[in-house]
Symmetry: C2
Subunit: 300 residues, 2 copies
């Protein structure tokens, strides 16, 4: 299963970077391969200063070895060995009308002292962070999420959409990071589903990414915007940084398992502002976004 999923994310990395380069038309991804001292490594592909994409990364990694002590409590296990592989991506477009997107699909195994696999599961999802709210974009993105889910179980979309809203929540600001999408974790084999079923679902969601995001980026990438709208984008990117550094378990996992810092923090936006006590004008487009972030909506 680990080989199968690793091959899958390799192929998906190629497909996604190719699709994004085509939209950008100017910059290309450069690849940095890295090794992890304790076992494994990764291939980070990063794009910067494109015509459309200001900064983005589409990274795959596969790491293994003893589970770090700091992570044992987190997973509620004793000393075990682990294997984890996944694809993580974050795309920050230059145009404030185009949303930032994040996605991740991962597979995890744990082993006892004799090397027997004692646990295995899939996790992942995708979520959208607009700076200006276009309802049709939110609907399109969620519709693609729902379509992927509905092929596997009629309740999956609602369940994983709710998990996404709960997870990507900037608790200290009492607002969502963005308009959500899907988030699922610990998808294990059980009486209803085999681990192959979990693989099929996770890859179904992975395969829906390009169609979920690229048309939105195409539609927004050349829209006109003002310097004030750009400033608003940079202020909102500050909230993105706050979430990733204060709350995100993926970032924490990377830092605690001695992952490659530059690959973990490639998710941070290229240029960001923090103004003291910034409040959008009532009734403005900016405040319309905040309203939706304060109270997640049903999009489909």
């Amino acid at each position: 299963m680990k080989d199968l999923f690793y091959q899958y994310i390799q192929t998906l990395q190629n497909q996604i970077t190719e699709a994004l380069e085509k939209v950008d038309g100017s910059a290309t991804f450069r690849e940095d391969s890295w090794k992890r001292k304790e076992g494994g490594g990764g291939h980070s592909r990063v794009i910067e200063n494109g015509a459309i994409i200001e900064k983005g990364g589409v990274n795959i990694s596969a790491v293994h070895g003893p589970l770090p002590e700091s992570m044992q409590a987190y997973f509620k296990v004793e000393k075990v060995d682990f294997f984890a592989c996944g694809l993580s991506l974050v795309i920050h477009p230059k145009n404030p009308m185009a949303p930032t997107v994040h996605a991740n699909w991962r597979y995890f195994e744990m082993y006892d002292a004799s090397g027997n696999c004692i646990d295995q599961w899939f996790g992942g999802g995708l979520d959208l962070t607009p700076y200006y709210l276009f309802e049709e974009d939110a609907q399109h993105f969620h519709l693609l999420c729902k379509k992927a889910c509905d092929k596997h179980h009629p309740n999956f979309y609602q369940e994983f959409k709710d998990k996404c809203d709960a997870y990507f929540h900037n608790a200290h600001r009492e607002e969502a990071r963005g308009i959500g999408g899907l988030f699922f974790d610990y998808l294990k084999a059980n009486e209803e589903y085999s681990i192959q079923d979990r693989f099929d679902f996770t890859t179904e969601v992975g395969n829906s990414f390009i169609e979920a995001y690229i048309p939105i980026l195409e539609k927004r990438k050349s829209m006109k915007y003002t310097p004030e709208q750009r400033t608003w984008q940079e202020i909102r990117r500050g909230r993105y940084v706050e979430f990733n550094l204060i709350h995100d378990k993926g970032t924490l996992f990377g830092l605690k398992t001695n992952g490659r810092i530059e690959s973990i923090l490639m998710s941070l936006p290229p240029s960001v502002q923090w103004h003291y006590n910034h409040q959008p004008e009532e009734g403005s487009e900016e405040s319309k976004l905040i309203d939706v972030l304060k109270k997640p909506k049903a999009w489909v």
Copy 2:
């Protein structure tokens, strides 16, 4: 003691904001007062878009009530009431040749169920974060730190300088946040020192701030700089954000005790950049700074 120290930080807030406004010559601090639902509140003074100071805050607060559950484990206590007051400041100058400065002086009390004070201590310090290294500035800053310490104990400077280097450390980057200064905490009454002695020391350090920082700001505020040097400053400010959001216990304490978000996060720099895998050129001024951050120096 709590009234005495609160009066002290009120006066110090006036002195420091006055001194900074004089250097800036253009912008002034605006004050926001806030109340905390569970007890207490604060007075935040913030300056933005000055001629010299791009963003800065000099805040005082005094909060009290039941110690939040999430903080009980941190202080290794059961259910207790607490009182905490302090002054916190961060100044981000516009000119990349001028260093960012942070300082904090605080006093803490804890009470049993009958309201008897069962513990009390002082904490605080000041530290400097340059973007370009001027050795004479680092020496001046540390000399003022040492002078304040030496009046109280010949070992204090070395002890609290080392604590500062240890505390303001971006572990995930394996580098210091800046060139240090002083950091002390849990200064309690003991056989050698009364709580009044601890007050005298903490206020001695507080009183040295203006002389430690203002002459440096004066000296650097009008130096010429290039757009590339400004970019470097913004990239380094990203490390400042990383420290404050990932590692800083003060930020954590504020977020966990339901402090005012905008007052806690006023420490974040106004404009910040994250480039993927940025490395300064070997032998450059930028790499000279990194060398010192990788290996803290004895400045006096």
